[in-house]
Structure formats: structure tokens, C-alpha cells
């Protein structure tokens, strides 16, 4: 098909709705494997918008490309956990077997090779995406086998020989992913969770009562920020508006977090039930599940669950025969942007815009999706709501601590014997978790992923909860032989890659942080670099526009605080005043070749004296 017909078909599928630009671009990307100049012009013409708006989206989301990609695109996760698990060797094996480097596409257009940030499979690392298909627990040998099959023309789906436990083997998912549920708590992962009892209980109450019950339960946002969910519902309801929206945030992009993947796989009904109750509480008729592109393999299954719910009268008009409440959910697929996990950026993305955060105030509860009051809530928070409705706020509040009610799903990965998902009551000590996870020699735990907190052995007595260690769920465990600065550097690389670039401090400052960390890693650091990093970090944190920028310096600041001796052993007091990063010999190599002579100053054979 030529570009014009591809674009025409894509736009037609979404009624030439400008707000569905991401879905339209996905159609074109899948059909043509890129969105070129002509494609951008055509989309703009078809939607009555401007080409530069389309280009703005294509160049913002990492799963879109303006240059042709292969029929098969392999995206190897290069998160630090995956690299510790051997992703680099896997990468080399892929390069060797496919004959192309990272960022390249084979000459015949058959395949492309790329790196990608965490894809939510840290407990079965190294992992990669092959188009939408997930492959896990890779080794160089396995990678070579996969590459051979791909070269022989196998489709990504044909690469899957074994499927995982639970719904991972469901025909609509069919993934080689394991759930790795290590500990089931009473709230979410309990084997026997009744269906739709929460919804029935909720519909028997007034919306205000529902929001009140959630508030009484003390449910706080599970994404990490911990805003009281009940208050969010009440606030959104309080703003007079003709429409309201309920959005489930399944853009689980924080490296080392994968518990929502398990909920989406095993508790889809519970999630949709929770969304329905929350929608009832705020008076929303429309809901959106924002699914990160890395979880596209779950989409068909989730669509099927939604369909079954519609058929059963659990979604659509007149839910449960209530005669007064209708609600439906659509799935919005992301396109590769961590920043879209930030609620206002997520809303931008749902509106078919670049996934940049909006100015706040006004907050989404007042002016969100399309300018209407919108509640954006984490998948896990929404899953808690039906349980609260069913069992009561007292039951829920009995788990956990005074300020942190209920249980928390933790995604444990890294140097431990039992990586996977743990549902624990709030208040659990890190050392208790490490014991359960069979971490033999833990030296560093990154609580809440790169934007969370890095702690060392001295802090393992601390507890999980909003009053102490608040976390979206990531628990990255590193043993003593890991290099702290390598971890910090990887996190900074992640923040730089994922910064939307809107504000100066995050866009530029995080690049400067990394430059200095790398200088220290290369043995060229000085003691004054520590105060430089501290001051730069303060400016970035104080002046950034959203949480990403505020968090970007954290790995640096926390690691300097937790491991001062590591830094002290690397930085030197230089007396000669020279910049060790400057390499005069390398700087002269090109001139030597052009002039076909050696240096009179810097080549000893020619009497060079300076060093």
C-alpha cells in the first residue's frame, strides 16, 4: 500500500479524530514501519492540523520513527538490572548474529535493533521486545537462536515456544512471561477474590458515600506519590462540569516496576471493576486505560475482558441494571515515553499531544482530559477500591500502619534468589523483604526505582510506607560487588533519555549531572565535583516543572550521602591543575594523519618534552 492509502485507512479507522492522533500514527507505523515526510503531510491534511504537530508527536514517542524500521524490530532492554543480568552480552550476540548495530536497520529492511528503557520484566531479565512480543531470560545462546529464526523469516509470535503461568498462557496473551507471584496478600493477590461484589456494594450507595468509604479506608495513591484517593474522587466530583473522566494509569515505566503488569494479567476484572466504581463516585461516563506500549501484548486480552464485561452488563449503559449509571472504558496505547506516567503528561498523551506535563494549577481533578475534571489513578489503587467496597474500610485499614493502610505490591528484582511480585502489608522492613527474596549479600536497595530513594545497609531497618520509604513498588536489589556509580550513571542516562525537554533544568541539568558522574567514574573527578553536583542537584530539584526533573538528581544526591567513601576513593585532589579528561594525544591524531608528521612537542621520539 502506498503512503496515501495507509494514512487514509488509519485516519478513517479513528473517524479522523485529531485527539486519536497516537492511535492513527500507530496504525501507520505498523503498516509502513515508519512515518515519513509524506505520511506527516497526509495525516496533517486528513485531520486538518499542521504537519509540524504530527512531526512533534512522531519525534516525541520512541516507538514512532521517521526513518524506515525493519519488519521486525528488536528492542533490547538496557536497564541496569538487565545489564547486570547480562544484557550487554545478549546485545553483542544479537549484533553478531544479525550483522547490524544498535540503532540500525538491515539493508533488506527485514529487521532493526534498538535499545529501550525498562520494559517491566526486571524479574526475568534480560528481556527484549520483538515487535509487540516479549522474550525473557535471554542468554547469548538464546539470542543467537532467536536471531537465526528471525533471519529465516519467523514471525515474532512464532518465537514463543513456552508460555508462562496463569493468564500468560491465555490464548489472547500467549506470552513467555512469568507472573512470579512470591507472596499473596489478602487484598489483591489472594487466590479467592470475589468478583463484582464491590461494584454491587458501591452501586447500593450514593457516589458521595463511595468516595467517603475510600477516604475512610485511608487508601493512598499506589504510584508512589501517595495522594489520598478518596480525596481525589471527592475533589473531582466537586467541580461542576458537564463531563468527567476516569483514567487508569497503566504506564508502568519506572525502571524495576512490574507489579501492574501482573495485575493487568491476573486481575483485569478487578481493575475494571475498580475503574467503574471510581467512575460512579465522580460521575464519569468515560474511562481510559492508558496502557504503555511495552505492554501492547496484553491489549487484545484486555479488550476481550472489556467486551465480556459489556456483555455481562458490567460496562456500558445501565450498569448492573442500576438504571442510572453508564460507563465505558477505552484503551489508549502509549508509544514509548516514561514521562507519560506523570498524570498531566498522560492526559496530554490521551489527547493526542506530545506527552508533556501541563502547568498546574489547575490540577487534573479540576481541568484534566479535554479540560474536564479527571481522576488519574494508578492501576493498583483502582484495584484496591472494589476490595474496600466489598470488605469495608475498617477491614482495609486493619492492614498496614497508621498512615499507610492496606497492602503494597512490590516488584523485587536484581541480586536476589526470588525476584518477583510480593504483596506485603505496609510497615514491612526492608531487611524482612530482603530475607524473603533471598538476597544473600544486599548492599544497595533502590526503593521506588531511579526516582525513588537509594539506601545502603545502614537503612535496611527502615519500613515501607508513606511515613518512611514511599514507593511505587520497585525494589531493585544490588549486591556488594556492584558499582554504585555505574548504577547512578544508568539512572541518569534513563532520565536524560526520558526527559520531555520542556523545562531547562531537567533537559540540560541532567546532562550536566551525568557528565560529572562519568568524569568521576573515569578517575578524573575532584573533590570539588561533590559540591558542584550537590549545588546543581539543588537547582534542578527546585526549578523543575514536574516530578521527573525533581527526581533526576536523586540518585546522585542519595548515593553521595549513602556511599561517601565510594566517592572519596574515586575523587582526587589534583595539584597540577590539569584537566585529566583532556587527551592531547587523541586530540592530535587526526592532524598527524593529515600532516603526515609527528608532534614536535608531544611525541617523545621527536624531542617532545611536555608530558
Amino acid at each position: 500500500m502506498d503512503t496515501k492509502s495507509v494514512v487514509r485507512a488509519a485516519c478513517a479507522k479513528y473517524g479522523s479524530d485529531r485527539d486519536r492522533l497516537i492511535d492513527i500514527l500507530w496504525e501507520i507505523q505498523r503498516a509502513s514501519r515508519h512515518i515519513n515526510d509524506e505520511g506527516m503531510e497526509e495525516v496533517a491534511a486528513a485531520l486538518g492540523i499542521h504537519r509540524v504537530e504530527v512531526e512533534g508527536l512522531v519525534t516525541f514517542y520512541s516507538f514512532f520513527s521517521s526513518t524506515p524500521k525493519g519488519r521486525i524490530t528488536i528492542r533490547l532492554c538496557n536497564d541496569i538490572i538487565d545489564r547486570h543480568a547480562g544484557a550487554d552480552a545478549v546485545g553483542q550476540a544479537l549484533v553478531g548474529a544479525l550483522g547490524i548495530g544498535f540503532g540500525e536497520t538491515s539493508g533488506d529492511g527485514a529487521f532493526s535493533l534498538d535499545h529501550t528503557s525498562c520494559i517491566g520484566l526486571s524479574d526475568q531479565a534480560p528481556a527484549a521486545l520483538i515487535n509487540d512480543v516479549v522474550v525473557t531470560n535471554l542468554t547469548p545462546a538464546k539470542a543467537r537462536d532467536l536471531a537465526e529464526l528471525i533471519k529465516q523469516g519467523a514471525s515474532p509470535e512464532e518465537l514463543i515456544s513456552v508460555t508462562g503461568d496463569g493468564n500468560n498462557s491465555h490464548p489472547l496473551i500467549h506470552a513467555m512471561v512469568s507472573n512470579n507471584i512470591r507472596l499473596r496478600g489478602a487484598v489483591l493477590l489472594h487466590e479467592e477474590i470475589p468478583t463484582e461484589k464491590g461494584l454491587a456494594a458501591a452501586l447500593a450507595m450514593t457516589p458521595e458515600q463511595v468516595a467517603g468509604e475510600v477516604t475512610d479506608a485511608g487508601l493512598r495513591g499506589r504510584g508512589g506519590a501517595g495522594f489520598p484517593t478518596g480525596r481525589k474522587l471527592t475533589l473531582a466530583r466537586g467541580f461542576p462540569a458537564e463531563r468527567r473522566y476516569l483514567v487508569a494509569n497503566a504506564d508502568e515505566g519506572e525502571p524495576g516496576t512490574f507489579k501492574d503488569r501482573v495485575l493487568l494479567t491476573e486481575r483485569a476484572d478487578l481493575l475494571f471493576e475498580g475503574m467503574t466504581i471510581a467512575a460512579y463516585a465522580i460521575g464519569a461516563a468515560h474511562g481510559i486505560l492508558y496502557l504503555r506500549a511495552e505492554y501492547a501484548y496484553l491489549r487484545e486480552y484486555l479488550e476481550d475482558v472489556l467486551k465480556k464485561r459489556r456483555d455481562a452488563g458490567l460496562l456500558g449503559g445501565d450498569i448492573l441494571g442500576s438504571n442510572r449509571f453508564s460507563f465505558d472504558i477505552r484503551i489508549q496505547l502509549g508509544a514509548g515515553a516514561y514521562i507519560c506516567g506523570e498524570e498531566s503528561a498522560l492526559i496530554s498523551s490521551c489527547e493526542g499531544l506530545r506527552g508533556e506535563p501541563k502547568n498546574r494549577p489547575p490540577f487534573p481533578v479540576e481541568k484534566g482530559y479535554m479540560g474536564f475534571p479527571t481522576v488519574v489513578s494508578n492501576v493498583e489503587s483502582l484495584c484496591c477500591i472494589p476490595r474496600i467496597m466489598d470488605m469495608g474500610s475498617k477491614w482495609f485499614g486493619a492492614f498496614g500502619t497508621e498512615e499507610s493502610h492496606g497492602t503494597k505490591l512490590l516488584s523485587v528484582s536484581g541480586d536476589c534468589g526470588k525476584p518477583g511480585v510480593y504483596e506485603v502489608p505496609f510497615g514491612l522492613k526492608i531487611e524482612e523483604l530482603l530475607q524473603m527474596a533471598e538476597a544473600l549479600d544486599p548492599a544497595i536497595v533502590q526503593v521506588g526505582g531511579p526516582s525513588g530513594e537509594m539506601i545502603g545497609r545502614g537503612d535496611f531497618h527502615r519500613r515501607i510506607g508513606f511515613e518512611d520509604l514511599s514507593t511505587g513498588g520497585a525494589m531493585m536489589v544490588f549486591c556488594a560487588r556492584r558499582n554504585v556509580l555505574e548504577i547512578v550513571d544508568a539512572f541518569l542516562e534513563f532520565f536524560i533519555d526520558e526527559s520531555c525537554g520542556y523545562c531547562t533544568p531537567c533537559r540540560v541539568g541532567s546532562v550536566f549531572l551525568r557528565e560529572r558522574i562519568q568524569r568521576i567514574m573515569n578517575g578524573a573527578g575532584e573533590r570539588s565535583d561533590m559540591s558542584y553536583l550537590e549545588a546543581l542537584g539543588q537547582t534542578i530539584t527546585a526549578t523543575s516543572r514536574c516530578g521527573l526533573g525533581v527526581s533526576a538528581p536523586r540518585p546522585v544526591i542519595h548515593s553521595m550521602r549513602q556511599f561517601p567513601l565510594v566517592y572519596a576513593s574515586l575523587v582526587k585532589e589534583r595539584k597540577d591543575g590539569l584537566q585529566p579528561g583532556f587527551d592531547i594525544q587523541r586530540g592530535l591524531d587526526i592532524a598527524r594523519k593529515i600532516a603526515r608528521r609527528q608532534s614536535m612537542i608531544y611525541d617523545p621520539r621527536f624531542g617532545g618534552k611536555d608530558e
Binding site: G501, R507, V508
Partner: protein, 252 residues
């Protein structure tokens, strides 16, 4: 479209409130941003991405102030009754200097050869926050191609500070869409609505191409450079903020 219309529309019904900037009591109209209120009171808050007549964007962060102890961008943050605003403190000056420096080091800002020198707002901010200690930030030295395709207008994104003023001017004032953001993170920059500038409908009368719109030397008019002698250029005579600070004198 502009916030100034919005606030003037509400003026009759809106309540007058008071707040303080650096200890000085100022009046404001509810619904104004801190920057609007400060401008009205004759207190200048340094800024780069904001320009009178355009919707505020809040991206350069140079206008960061502390409100009741919390840093916010004053161009987009609404003022509240009784707010305690800190503007000209050593801490905030330090942040602003860092931000201005970041922009200098992110692009290629070679003042001695730049046509915008003397009327460049980034340069003026540099002059304002300059210190004599050697700066430690690295220079990123981008090498993006210059777009000289258009007969009258040139675009050098190596000097772009991502303020988006051209984008908003083209969209909201000219009713066109010549510019837009492309790329993300450190690769985010201003793109044009076509394969290059000559394929857009920009022309010299556009506000997007007006000298006041681009605060730096990214959008340049061809055949128009160095038109005022050094010492007599816009910011040689009246550095940014002069007009606002004069208001204070008048109101007293």
C-alpha cells in the same frame, strides 16, 4: 487568547487581594499570575520564555520564585491572597544564574558574532547574573544544520533556547502554525511546518518573525544585522525590566 484579555475581562468582578514580594506589600487581582501582579507593582521578575501578549508557558524557569517557601514558576502560578513571595534572594539568584548558564552552555551562543547581540534577552540575563568565578558547566556545542532556505528569514536552532515564543506568536497572533516543537529531551527544539522554512507560509510581517519574538539569535532576518552601534543597542540603553521597574516610580 492571551491571559491579559482573560484577566481584564474578570477585572470588574474580581476581588483585589494583597501579597508580599521580598517583604513589600503589593496589590493584585485574583486570577492574575504572580508575574502579572509583580509587573503591575513595578517589581521585575527576570524571564525568558514569557513575552507580553503571549500565553505564558513556564518552560525556561528563570522566573522561579518562592511562594510561601515553595519554588514555582511565577509566569504560570496564580497569586493567592496573603502569599509571601521571595524574588530577589541569594538562593533564587543562584538558581537563575544556573538556568541562564544551562541555556548558554546548551547551545552555541557566540555573542561576538551573533546578529542578536545587544538585543538578546539571554545575553541580557547573562549580564545580569554574571559572576567572575570560572564556570564549570560543559559546553554541549550542538552541530545542527542552519536553515537558510527562505529568502528573508534564517533559522539557526543551535541558538534556540526552546522558549517557544515563535510557536505561540505564529499560532495565536499570526493564525498560522509555522513553528512547533519536535524531538524530546536534550534533542527537543523548534521545528518548522514543512521540510524547511521555505516550505512554510512565514513572511516578514509575521509576529513570529518579529525582532521582539525570538529572544536570541535563532530566528534571524536576512540582510538585517548589527543595525545599531554597540552602546546604542536596545539592551545597552534599556535592559529587560526597565519599563516594569519604572512603573514603580510612577505609582509612588
Amino acid at each position: 487568547m492571551s491571559r491579559h484579555h482573560e484577566s481584564s475581562g474578570q477585572e470588574d468582578s474580581a476581588a483585589r487581594i494583597s501579597f508580599t514580594i521580598d517583604g513589600e506589600t503589593c496589590a493584585a487581582i485574583a486570577g492574575q499570575t504572580i508575574m502579572e501582579a509583580a509587573d503591575g507593582a513595578g517589581v521585575y521578575i527576570p524571564r525568558l520564555c514569557d513575552e507580553e501578549g503571549l500565553d505564558p508557558q513556564g518552560s525556561c524557569r528563570v522566573c522561579t520564585v518562592k511562594v510561601n517557601g515553595r519554588p514555582v514558576a511565577s509566569c504560570v502560578h496564580p497569586v493567592g491572597a496573603g502569599d509571601v513571595v521571595e524574588n530577589d534572594t541569594a538562593e533564587i539568584r543562584g538558581w537563575r544564574r544556573d538556568l541562564v548558564r544551562m541555556l548558554f552552555h546548551e547551545g552555541n551562543h557566540l555573542c561576538p558574532i551573533c546578529e542578536a547581540s545587544g538585543r538578546c534577552e539571554l545575553q541580557a540575563m547573562g549580564h545580569r547574573f554574571e559572576t567572575f568565578e570560572a564556570d564549570l558547566f560543559p559546553y554541549l556545542q550542538p552541530v545542527r544544520p542552519v536553515d537558510a532556505s527562505h529568502p528573508d528569514i534564517m533559522l539557526d536552532t543551535n541558538r534556540c533556547i526552546r522558549c517557544g515564543r515563535c510557536i505561540r506568536a505564529s499560532r495565536d497572533l499570526d493564525g498560522k502554525h509555522v513553528f512547533g516543537y519536535v524531538g524530546r529531551g536534550i534533542n527537543k527544539r523548534v521545528g518548522v511546518n514543512g521540510i524547511d522554512l521555505s516550505h512554510t507560509d512565514i513572511d516578514l510581517d509575521d509576529m513570529a518573525a518579529a525582532l521582539e519574538t525570538c529572544p536570541v539569535g535563532c530566528i534571524i532576518r536576512k540582510r538585517l544585522g548589527f543595525f545599531s552601534p554597540i552602546g546604542r543597542r536596545l539592551f545597552d540603553m534599556t535592559p529587560p525590566g526597565t519599563a516594569i521597574q519604572k512603573r514603580k516610580g510612577n505609582s509612588k
